[in-house]
Symmetry: C2
Subunit: 387 residues, 2 copies
């Protein structure tokens, strides 16, 4: 396999974009990435999206976007793995370029979730769970995560407020990210007093949905020296693993085995360990997932993920900086786009473009994107190399 580099990145603000259609959301992120890369012709397009057939009545998003973007005639396809669709599209594009089958790939994660009057986005999101054995019983997606969080608190003796640092850190970092959905600092008091959604998950445990799109352009690494003095960013590790789709079928619902497997594969491929990761964009769809992700990926012992937050180790100057641009919690979670926002944000960190939330000397970044309640998990490791 050829080594692959990220030549350009693009994103739009996660928001309620009533003035932008699905076409424009994805197109604007793609155009930004093409401008950043200085390319107007790309061999292929990989789109990550979860909801468009249900919410926008539009399938075949690969060709839908290659048509709109002007990549006429070029190969394109859509990849779907629920909320991990973004990273799954990245991995499909990566394999295509790595295989030598094409010399450039545009990867776009895109989701239009608001302004479709009358459509039930909560029901559409529930298609990530097991339709026959979970959704049929009336369990919503947040409900599943609430069951996991409650069990975790019971098993390991944590209180609800112990999860506050995850949300506080995400909100604090998002203050400095113009592309973030929420620009509002929060406190432990505010965290504890926010509205209950599904006990013990309250509004500030949960990430907000939104319209969004983020994109990256992949090329063989040997074709890139450095970008105007900025380091070359390569995809050093990439892996995907799965667990049962229904939470109740897992040997241990408090352990993300697909995060364990995909992170270990990615570490091996990138020839690093968790202690080498300078910045970790994890999938904090709910605060409980931050803890489970840190534990399964090697950063904390079982049941001790929350301790990293309580000990102030997750901020940009901490031992394990997470969600440095706001994470799902405050940048926002436009589901099929989220995995690509994580990649764009890692590239910003490795290029040193993050200003107030820049992790000093960041050279190795990791992103973990989760589909369903831990059913599909992809881990990517990016490295900065001085040109």
């Amino acid at each position: 396999m050829r080594q692959v580099a990220i030549l350009g990145i693009g994103q739009i603000k996660v928001d309620e974009h009533w003035d932008l259609s699905l076409r424009e959301l994805g197109g604007n992120a793609a155009f930004a990435a093409m401008q950043d890369a200085g390319l107007d012709r790309i061999d292929s397009l990989f789109v990550g999206n979860m909801l468009s057939p249900m919410v926008s009545g539009q399938n075949q998003l690969g060709t839908f976007f290659s048509d709109w973007i002007g990549l006429w005639d070029q190969e394109s396809v859509k990849v779907e793995a629920a909320c991990a669709s973004g990273a799954a599209a990245l991995r499909a594009g990566l394999m295509a370029v790595a295989a030598g089958e094409m010399d450039s790939a545009l990867v776009v994660g895109v989701e239009k979730m608001t302004d479709k009057a009358g459509h039930d986005v909560t029901a559409a999101l529930a298609t990530a769970a097991d339709a026959d054995y979970e959704v049929e019983q009336g369990v919503s997606f947040v409900g599943l995560n609430a069951l996991v969080m409650r069990r975790y608190m019971h098993e390991f003796g944590w209180q609800h407020e112990d999860f506050a640092p995850f949300s506080i850190n995400a909100h604090a970092n998002a203050m400095h990210n113009p592309y973030a959905r929420l620009h509002e600092k929060i406190s432990v008091d505010k965290f504890e007093k926010s509205s209950m959604v599904a006990t013990p998950i309250n509004l500030l445990d949960a990430s907000p949905i939104g319209d969004g799109a983020a994109a990256a352009i992949l090329v063989p690494a040997e074709k890139v020296a450095s970008l105007q003095g900025k380091p070359r960013v390569t995809i050093a590790g990439s892996a995907s693993a799965t667990d049962s789709i229904a939470v109740h079928s897992r040997k241990d619902p408090l352990f993300l085995s697909a995060a364990y497997l995909s992170s270990r594969k990615a570490y091996d491929m990138a020839k690093v360990g968790w202690e080498d990761i300078d910045v970790f964009e994890l999938h904090d769809a709910f605060s409980i997932m931050s803890a489970l992700s840190l534990e399964a990926s090697g950063f904390a012992e079982r049941g001790q993920g929350v301790r990293l937050g309580l000990e102030n180790e997750i901020g940009p100057t901490g031992r394990v900086p997470v969600c440095t641009r706001g994470g799902l919690k405050a940048r926002g979670h436009p589901v099929g786009a989220t995995g690509m926002y994580q990649i764009v944000e890692l590239v910003q960190q490795l290029r040193g473009e993050c200003n107030e939330t820049q992790v000093d000397g960041a050279r190795v970044g990791m992103a973990q994107n989760i589909g369903g309640s831990g059913a599909t998990i992809l881990t990517h490791i990016l490295k900065a190399e001085q040109g």
Copy 2:
């Protein structure tokens, strides 16, 4: 890139399977392929599907099926390109194995279209067209094809009955395929008298939907000698190309430019020309598409595709045998599964397992899978090599 071979195939009958869930449909085809290959452990799963989020309320089909099939922990993903989802999943699996990223890939095309009370499958199918500029105007999918067929008849002077041989051939071949949806011979008279759907497309111009699943297992070619005396089947050519998603945006709506581009790329990759193709499984969703596919792929001049049928050249003993197991028209068109049925059927031909519809000495087979009204088109060329 490593050369890739097809080690095993599996399929279920296309039908109204009221007794089988989505899980069981895909699972049964996968198990058949695993049994055929003699493998019970496979590195990865690629699922082609178009409608399940809408029709079955189930997304994340990669993990949904890896869980059900017992490929626990393994990488999996779903690929969607409307009715070309099956071939798009094959191509994703092919690139993963060819890149050396994994040593085996199970590719399953699956679609559950019946028995979901109250759900409008016609509306779900329309998501393959342009939601903003086609569907919004009230044009159905068959309506779009009808406009193209009418224009073709006008431009090139053909009558409706000139298309009859495509359907007659498909129905005749399906008589000998136990997995086909329809087992009924038809005549020109019956073709001309069948019910009108959208002028000039009548019931016998159109392929029937159905529940179905077909699967193949891909491995590096060097790991396969021959299969119990049967030839080794390799994927010699694979290409994907796109056109505008809306028919009205095309320079020429009577020419499938994505079929032209993908077939030429596949010919180049396989080092063959159209005259070397012994059997061609084309995408006869509507009879007009058979003509356009033959023309764009080099088998006929512009506007002359129907002549191959009228001159009796498309049967198993003809110059260009098409739809040798019934095609979409009579084997049936379970949309996201169709591309994989074509692959399974080509392997059957190249292994010499087709009995009454066996093409004598078939060594090179081609499959063409179309998403939307020609928007995404994938062409695959398989070769038989004596072990």
